[in-house]
């Protein structure tokens, strides 16, 4: 039903800004609980409202902000915080490498910088799972702006204590991001056995790292990159793209 976002005229390219906005709706819903939680944590860590909004707007990386705020709370120095952020976000290297080959070649360098600057796990996942081989800048901006806007204003709402949702509903909404990931994954892996195997191996490795005592303290961003990287390497070796692609 609401899966058919693409326009009729140009089926090779995910085109319009409105398509992007529509595709970003699930991301916006998913961001609400974490953004509100981020705002609450900002207040706890002693930030002002302006600082909280500023951080959410320019850093725009949920996990990094949570880590940074927790480190601030325990009195860690800026070097440690910046380093933790850098490690956590190294996983974006893989994501932007993939997106690089999906953006329309005509998109200008400045627009590309803006598109990648706003890229998150979620916008990457939505964009990468689009059926169209090429993505337009309008689509990407529509997609990114949904999340960026919700994240920034959700932080403010959480900070001001107007979380506007009962705690129980907000907790349950924590599942939304994962429901989005699951919803994106299923149609692609249902008809693609190598993709299903790749995903399963990544899940197994990710769980292995998290649940094995010696690895469990590993930075989560690095752990994810290791798990995803290893399983994609394995898949590339086992199921190289060939004539059928």
């Amino acid at each position: 039903m609401d899966r058919d976002f693409e326009q009729d005229n140009d089926s090779d390219t995910a085109s319009g800004f409105t398509d992007g906005l529509k595709a970003g709706v699930p991301i916006a819903i998913g961001y609400i609980p974490s953004a509100v939680a981020c705002g609450i944590l900002c207040r706890t860590a002693g930030l002002t409202a302006a600082e909280s909004v500023f951080m959410s707007f320019i850093v725009f990386a949920g996990a990094s902000q949570f880590v940074a705020l927790n480190l601030l709370l325990i009195g860690a120095g800026p070097l440690e915080i910046v380093l933790a952020t850098a490690l956590l976000n190294m996983r974006h290297i893989m994501m932007s490498s993939v997106l690089a080959r999906r953006l329309k070649p005509q998109i200008s360098a400045i627009k590309r910088v803006l598109i990648y600057f706003e890229m998150t796990d979620e916008s990457f996942s939505v964009a990468a799972m689009r059926k169209e081989p090429l993505l337009s800048s309008e689509f990407m901006f529509g997609l990114n702006i949904q999340g960026h806007f919700t994240w920034t204003f959700g932080t403010l709402a959480g900070y001001l204590g107007t979380s506007f949702l009962p705690k129980s509903v907000q907790d349950s909404m924590g599942i939304a991001i994962y429901a989005l990931f699951i919803g994106l994954l299923i149609p692609s892996v249902q008809k693609n056995r190598p993709a299903l195997i790749t995903t399963s191996i990544a899940m197994g490795l990710s769980a292995f790292i998290k649940w094995t005592p010696i690895f469990s303290s590993m930075n989560r961003g690095l752990a994810m990159m290791a798990a995803a990287g290893a399983s994609a390497l394995l898949a590339a070796a086992l199921f190289p793209l060939g004539e059928e692609q």
């Binding site: 039903m1 609401d2 899966r3 002002t48 600082e51 500023f54 850093v59 990386a61 990094s64 910046v82 952020t85 850098a86 976000n89 996983r91 974006h92 290297i93 893989m94 994501m95 932007s96 490498s97 993939v98 690089a100 080959r101 590309r112 990648y116 600057f117 890229m119 796990d121 990457f124 996942s125 990468a128 799972m129 129980s168 509903v169 907790d171 349950s172 924590g174 599942i175 994962y178 429901a179 989005l180 699951i182 919803g183 994954l185 149609p187 249902q190 299903l196 995903t199 899940m203 649940w211 994810m224 798990a227 995803a228 399983s231 994609a232 898949a235 590339a236 190289p240 793209l241 692609q245």
Partner: protein, 102 residues
């Protein structure tokens, strides 16, 4: 400009390059087949690593998180759209949390 704002800018400075630079190094090249294949499988690998096992901590209780994830899985398998999957998962997690709390 406060200390936290300065810190935010530093955080941005180490976050943005990993988002932006690889794209410019890779965009217009013809890559070896192995690298093409690797890049092709990355989205599936990343989604897998993002979902599991962190999904079990999504709502603060493993029980309601599992209920939500299961609903998302079933709705996804039955071919529903993403908004239906999302609301179904949230509703299931909510109901499970309420039942579990009794």
């Amino acid at each position: 400009m406060t200390k936290v704002m300065l810190l935010s800018i530093l955080m941005m400075c180490v976050t943005a390059p990993s988002r932006i630079l690889p794209a410019f190094l890779l965009s217009d090249r013809k890559l070896p087949r192995f690298v093409e294949s690797f890049l092709h499988y990355i989205p599936f690998a990343i989604l897998g690593a993002l979902i599991f096992p962190d999904v079990l901590h999504a709502t603060g209780s493993a029980y309601s998180s599992a209920a939500g994830a299961m609903a998302a899985l079933l709705l996804g398998l039955s071919g529903r759209g993403i908004i239906v999957i999302l609301t179904g998962a949230i509703a299931s997690a909510f109901i499970a949390a309420q039942l579990g709390g009794m």
